[in-house]
Subunit: 355 residues, 4 copies
Amino acid sequence: MRHTVNDQTTPIAIVGAAGYTGAELARIAAAHPFVEVVALFASERANNAAVRIMSDIFPQLRGVNDLPIHAACVDAILECGAKVIFLATPHEASAELAPALLAHGLIVIDLSAAFRLRDAAAYPAHYGFTHPSSSLLAHAVYGLPELNRAALMQADLIACAGCYPTSVILPLRPLVNARLLNASRPVIVDSASGVSGAGRGATAKNLFCEVSFQPYSPLQHRHQPEMRQETRLDILFTPHLLPLDRGIVSTIHVELVPGVSESVVRETLGAHYADEPFIRLLPEGVWSSIAAVERTNYCDISLMVDSAHNHLVIASSIDNLVKGAAGQAMQCMNIRMGFPETMGLLPIHAVGVVS
Amino acid sequence: MRHTVNDQTTPIAIVGAAGYTGAELARIAAAHPFVEVVALFASERANNAAVRIMSDIFPQLRGVNDLPIHAACVDAILECGAKVIFLATPHEASAELAPALLAHGLIVIDLSAAFRLRDAAAYPAHYGFTHPSSSLLAHAVYGLPELNRAALMQADLIACAGCYPTSVILPLRPLVNARLLNASRPVIVDSASGVSGAGRGATAKNLFCEVSFQPYSPLQHRHQPEMRQETRLDILFTPHLLPLDRGIVSTIHVELVPGVSESVVRETLGAHYADEPFIRLLPEGVWSSIAAVERTNYCDISLMVDSAHNHLVIASSIDNLVKGAAGQAMQCMNIRMGFPETMGLLPIHAVGVVS
Amino acid sequence: MRHTVNDQTTPIAIVGAAGYTGAELARIAAAHPFVEVVALFASERANNAAVRIMSDIFPQLRGVNDLPIHAACVDAILECGAKVIFLATPHEASAELAPALLAHGLIVIDLSAAFRLRDAAAYPAHYGFTHPSSSLLAHAVYGLPELNRAALMQADLIACAGCYPTSVILPLRPLVNARLLNASRPVIVDSASGVSGAGRGATAKNLFCEVSFQPYSPLQHRHQPEMRQETRLDILFTPHLLPLDRGIVSTIHVELVPGVSESVVRETLGAHYADEPFIRLLPEGVWSSIAAVERTNYCDISLMVDSAHNHLVIASSIDNLVKGAAGQAMQCMNIRMGFPETMGLLPIHAVGVVS
Amino acid sequence: MRHTVNDQTTPIAIVGAAGYTGAELARIAAAHPFVEVVALFASERANNAAVRIMSDIFPQLRGVNDLPIHAACVDAILECGAKVIFLATPHEASAELAPALLAHGLIVIDLSAAFRLRDAAAYPAHYGFTHPSSSLLAHAVYGLPELNRAALMQADLIACAGCYPTSVILPLRPLVNARLLNASRPVIVDSASGVSGAGRGATAKNLFCEVSFQPYSPLQHRHQPEMRQETRLDILFTPHLLPLDRGIVSTIHVELVPGVSESVVRETLGAHYADEPFIRLLPEGVWSSIAAVERTNYCDISLMVDSAHNHLVIASSIDNLVKGAAGQAMQCMNIRMGFPETMGLLPIHAVGVVS
């Protein structure tokens, strides 16, 4: 049942394998014909934890990925034989690890926020640490393939877009580019995310009996500056916790330039994303839901316009662990390695590849 | 175990007993020392259904309310001996039933929207029917006790506030009254409700495996005109379906008059609701959740201000079946009948009443 | 809104207030007209935690119980003025605290297993500690009111029945007493419990994203000896974790003495529990569910017999935090203090008591 | 992105496409490199429904399967060009459709129970209809690949095993074959299933707010005779409804022949399933859960023995829509068509196939 490395196969390593994003990377990689997971690392328990087996932590991976999880020190990562390193680590850990990995010619795909913001001063303000490798910020490529494909083809350091930002930037950027939005007004974004977005830390707020639907950190969440950077809009962002494992719906309220109709908005988005395999623009009257995107790499976009108010409401949905994290990272890798972009990510099998 | 009617006891009837709101009325009434449910009716199956027992439909009510459910014809209601009639019926049914009940001197507490809007023209536009008793619209008292207590004391026709509107009007009205809000800007309301809000109809969208988090009817929901009427604000309302049985959180975005600080907002709401038993203004940094209000008659209000944007974000929460329906109806009845307002509704027993 | 202590009111204290059972005790006590919670204690953080407010931990209790939680040392408990002490503490803590409290004349209602088993040797075997006050085991009264009411009236140390055992003993004991069961065959019990049964510890297995339906500790759970002691049957018990907050359903398989029919079983249980306010024997074809007992003190019992196999299957359900813990403890207290047994526990208000 | 039919591709049709099993077949087929869904049919609305699009009913399939759903008449199915017909239809519909399809040389893979039982008399007794094509019962091959692989290679009518039976037969049959079980004692099976097992009918019991954990049809479920037929054991089966979308855990209690140890049981199952790609025998102390098998074709088996009672408890888990229905059907098809058995079903990509 286990595949074997062959000439086509790219060896990869996952750092931060004991978290939900790391597990999702392992799950997706197992179905990818051109990658081989050669090593797993966990950064947090670097020096004191006994070696554990991936499938002991994540029982769904038994028989799928039974590799040991090693302590995440730079030397071990360099020696594991991987050419592409996925960092599913905390921001500080990514910021510490990336320079050495890059210096040794590895491709680094970072799922943390360590290299997403171009302004180094934003890190102490929003992430609580002084960036130890801020010179790399200009070098990193923001990992949102639909908007950044060309740059990703040659990137060595990919800073995958955040989960909430992915759901917000994808519908807004084409409208910003087309100058359809009244950029002088704040954009209101109310998002809701499944609990896996909070990570796997054993804290009281993530306990089964404590999770409830409610907002948290309104107007102060770390993803707000990332959304503003990538849309150049004055976004006011309020996330909500949703009693589900996974999934994000973002409801976005924006004022249109006077006279812009719903059909113009639809045509602009439709034209921009016509050839994108992972963007689904939903027909009028159908609204994005978590069920429709769960465990897929799709981003669904739905919308309507209240012409009397020049008001556009958009609802976009993704799976926070897939298009919001591991799936997007794999999509970025596919682009970087020259693989078909949907490889390992689409429910529809690409026959051309296998026959 | 069953209580017996005594001189203090008011006989009540519930029309629409086979729905979730009807069941919740029965549950609350069972714990109310001064009311006796003397009859149950279901309007929809008026002429053709066999008599059913309440606790056969709602097994949690076994031993609590085992009354038969009768066909809801006016004559049967008039003859059942109740003095107060709760209408947990569809809008059209309430509009049809109320005039005859009022004509016979009964007190009618309507949980539908049939008498909430003062403008008869709004019914064909938003509810799809021409109001058959529109002359009563001016007579009805809007059933939101915290804002309308004096009028409720003498009302014969009480139009209980809707679930979403309750969660939106309660935090906004005191701020409107104090002229703290920039009324020239639309107010954005994104609400999420548990599935019981959709009623007990056996339709595909309410099936366990079909419910998912998603918006529905954005900017077009029937409760939008009700919110606008009661706040005199230009509200843009987007409801969301939440995969939970019950509960509503409304996240409200509003622009403040320049210079209004968070402490002024807090003081205004705090002063207005200081003596209200069912309003809880949460301290800074604590946000409304469904868990905190589930199965209670509380409305929790939380908020923060982004001074740079003059932006106020409010999150309010209620249980849609209690403060959003049956509990509020019972609170209105308590006021109307001269009972202590919290009777049957508070987790805290009022010792003075019973000893 | 707050009640005041009057002559009728019994002052109580809750030790272990920071757990789910402690919170449920506080919730129920708030609705009880004859008790006053005078103090809260948490045993685990005895010496090093800052004083916290109950409603900061449990937001649903804001305005209901806003008392501080003190460190649970014996002296503080003795001085708080309570006459009845509820111990919602770990087994060892209860075993340590009870002797001193009893020595000072307090009534101790223990919700742990510290005093449930009569055989001191069972504690090291099943609970992992040598009992420090084993001489009290013979003195303690097992707190299952329906089977032990007379003894509870004079008990000073009440060992409330466990959650799973309550659901299993209540349907079985009358059948054992009537000699309807083939006691030579093992009884198979498969139970499922909501996650609150696992307590409020912040461990990975209780995280929202980790909880799944599955068995745990089959044939080895601590409640198996308790069930065997109280039924005198050879029970083989397998609990299952259920992705719900609360509730237990126990499915019980037992061989009948040849010739015992379903109607004999029904009549035996029906006669035994005819006057019990909290036992509901469900009619043929209706099966116990969690929804029907959630947030109530009821135990629902349903059953059928396969005559060809002399096989009786019973499904019983309770709310693990109410009839399985806090509600049952309050019911025991009502009996001990001479209050009406259903006081504070029934959805139906007993008019005779209050007027 | 869409695959095109090539020489390797087998055209298939799904009858009963509007149900949950039909949708799961469409989802799995989309990822299968050697099949092409050429037509969808829905049997229930055969004559009066307008043509609908698959992805309008199941929004997760947008872009994956956007085919129209046609009325399921025999002629239309025969003309659609499919060589393999999946019947995800009610029992009666399958029994009616199969003979004509077989007569025209098509391969029929039936997911209903219409051809599972060998005794025609069982159909009126357990399924409420007289079998219209009972002569085919001897011809049908029971579709449980791990126990029936050779026969499936040449079957034209495959009667896929039921969901509950799959979870029960897989762990028990090797133990029966090895004569480790005391067949004179009844075997107790308590299973729990997610709500999709009840189908997509819009009935009150499947509404979001009505679903609760509870047993149903104990000792009388239709799957009990199927389990008995395939294990030759006297099974007493009690299913439970689980408030989850999908997944089954079966907890099985069986008496061992005296002297059979846990290691003998483990070795027997381990040897029997050593080379099976979809059976995972879990190590001691790890118990089957729904999370571990959700959306996979795995059957997880866990167990322990209480030697003092010669008692074996097994917990097995599957996804009822995958290994319990659509995945198993596809696995059967792979065997029948000579494709690699795991094609389209394993998270791990089989490199040998694609390179």
